[in-house]
Assembly symmetry: C2
Homo-oligomer: 331 residues x 2
């Protein structure tokens, strides 16, 4: 993904190059360095840099000199990576972007403590944003509201794993909190920093939320129907009995016999290949994939609709490019 932007001679590619230079020169450092090294490690693992780009492109809608948005972009990236470090402990995940997770490469204690420092680091970057104290307070308030919601989403995610029944509404609220509000924050805070009105910034926030939910649903689809990606197990959600929208639809529509079979498979993890094939076939049998694709498209459309008015006065070429590129992943 990143290389695709690098290769392209468009504005976003330029922004990304400059931002990555900025990030490399402003990584967390301190004494003792052993506290900050794991933070640099995870920040250097790559990733698509969607959150920094959303901050920058949100800013770019309203102002030039996009470099003013770089500290905000990096704060969002540091915060995102803090959540990865702590979530990977909770999910017992050993790989992240194809490399060892922080609590595996170091240990759980180090991952907890470095994660804490990263959260503090993100706040610190926001405090020092190059704008008025009023706007900094405003953006900080958006940030803590969002950060609290992300914790609530993670709590729901953990609790859903133990619950027998989760409604579609509950699932959508969980992914809104766990992943979408951060994307909304990036767009909104970028726009606010660029001088957007509260109204315009809020529209971008809402659109970001809808797009975030759509992308999460797309991730769920890709996990089952996509090509295997480096560092990601295809069918991983199936193996872990994750209550994705696909699974919720299936559970609501499968006949008695199939439901019995499903619960039998929930007790088993192996043979992996067979378990994945069993669920994939059922998803197709009950048109769960078509249904979920439909929900995803609705969310993308809602986002488009929200932006209709703003498009008249602002140039969305770069943002549209980013979203099109993200949407073009094969499902």
């Amino acid at each position: 993904m990143i290389f695709q932007w690098f290769m392209s001679e468009n504005k976003t590619g330029e922004f990304l190059k400059k931002y990555l230079d900025y990030q490399n020169q402003n990584l967390p450092v301190g004494n003792p360095d052993s506290l900050y090294e794991p933070a640099r490690y995870i920040l250097n693992l790559g990733g698509k840099k969607i959150r920094p780009l959303l901050c920058i492109l949100g800013y770019d809608l309203f102002s030039e000199d996009t470099e003013t948005a770089f500290p905000l972009a990096l704060a969002s990236e540091v915060f995102h990576n803090f959540t990865l470090v702590h979530d990977d402990i909770m999910d017992n995940a050993s790989l992240r972007r194809g490399e060892k997770t922080v609590h595996v490469k170091w240990d759980v204690n180090q991952a907890i403590l470095t994660g804490d420092t990263m959260l503090v680091d993100a706040v610190n970057r926001l405090i020092k944003l190059n704008t008025t104290p009023d706007l900094r307070i405003n953006i900080l308030y958006e940030f803590t509201t969002m950060a609290d919601e992300v914790c609530r989403g993670q709590q729901l995610d953990v609790e859903f794993a133990q619950k027998k029944v989760v409604s579609e509404e509950e699932y959508l609220e969980m992914i809104r909190l766990k992943t979408s509000v951060l994307l909304g924050f990036c767009l909104k805070s970028g726009a606010l920093l660029g001088g957007a009105s509260e109204t315009d910034a809020q529209i971008l926030y809402e659109a970001g939320i809808q797009q975030g939910i759509a992308f999460q649903i797309m991730d769920d689809l890709l996990d089952v129907f996509g090509e295997s990606e480096f560092g990601k197990v295809r069918g991983g959600d199936i193996l872990e009995n994750k209550k994705t929208l696909l699974m919720l639809h299936l559970l609501n529509h499968a006949d008695r016999n199939d439901v019995q079979e499903i619960y039998k498979w929930f007790e088993l993890r192996e043979p992996e290949h067979e378990k994945i094939r069993f669920f994939t076939e059922l998803f197709r049998k009950y048109d769960s994939d078509a249904y979920v694709r439909n929900v995803m498209m609705e969310k993308f459309n809602e986002a488009d609709l929200l932006l209709n008015d703003l498009r008249k006065s602002r140039d969305f070429t770069a943002l549209d490019g980013l979203f099109t590129s993200l949407k073009s992943r094969q499902i």
Copy 2:
């Protein structure tokens, strides 16, 4: 300790009563409540409320209407309790103030996530302080600087446990970071919120640092020579081979035979009673206790000296009362 203040009809007792009412009415809540319940649990375990009182008394030096300082006081208390929740995981501690620690009563994942929420909660309270955006930014910056230092102190503490040689200077720097900077922050931010000049607030900060170091050294002494307290194991530092100032002095002064014995005991945890007696006798033999008491008194004196000028224009009766009460613990 708390009851001592309640019983006394002085200003501090009044502040504490009002503050506790405020805290009880403003505890962390949210949805799902399961995320916030462990936060309320640890905040309700008691404790001496030194940090809130330092915020309030720092404010009281410069302004009346001390209730303005309550959100700051609660932010400091929430932050302090966040560090307890995460440190207890890292230290594998099962008891806190005589009750189960959060990761024992719930589990490690819950303790990580609720701790994260508490850190966000503390920042959120500071953002909303009832003062100018400029001063809020100023206090927030003091806060993130302090919070980063507290993480660095915890990192050093963990690393010292594995190190063979720690110098006295390194130990003092570790406790400055791990425990004192928060006390300094409480006094300074309280004073700033009350309208103190940066200079006066900084003097209070420095005095808070010295007092914080002195109190930590006092805790180390109490752990060996004090009366057993509810929820605290007397001699706990000895059993865990903690490199307190007492131990560092002993290691630097013991003769070859005693050093050999010391390293033998480092390999053993039992019999506990004998291990504690062995070290207690050596501390006395080499006058380590007298030396450490002396360092502690020096720090208290430095704090006094720093405050000399400020005493001429401000009424320190309440703050002196708090410090005298803390100092009067038997060692």
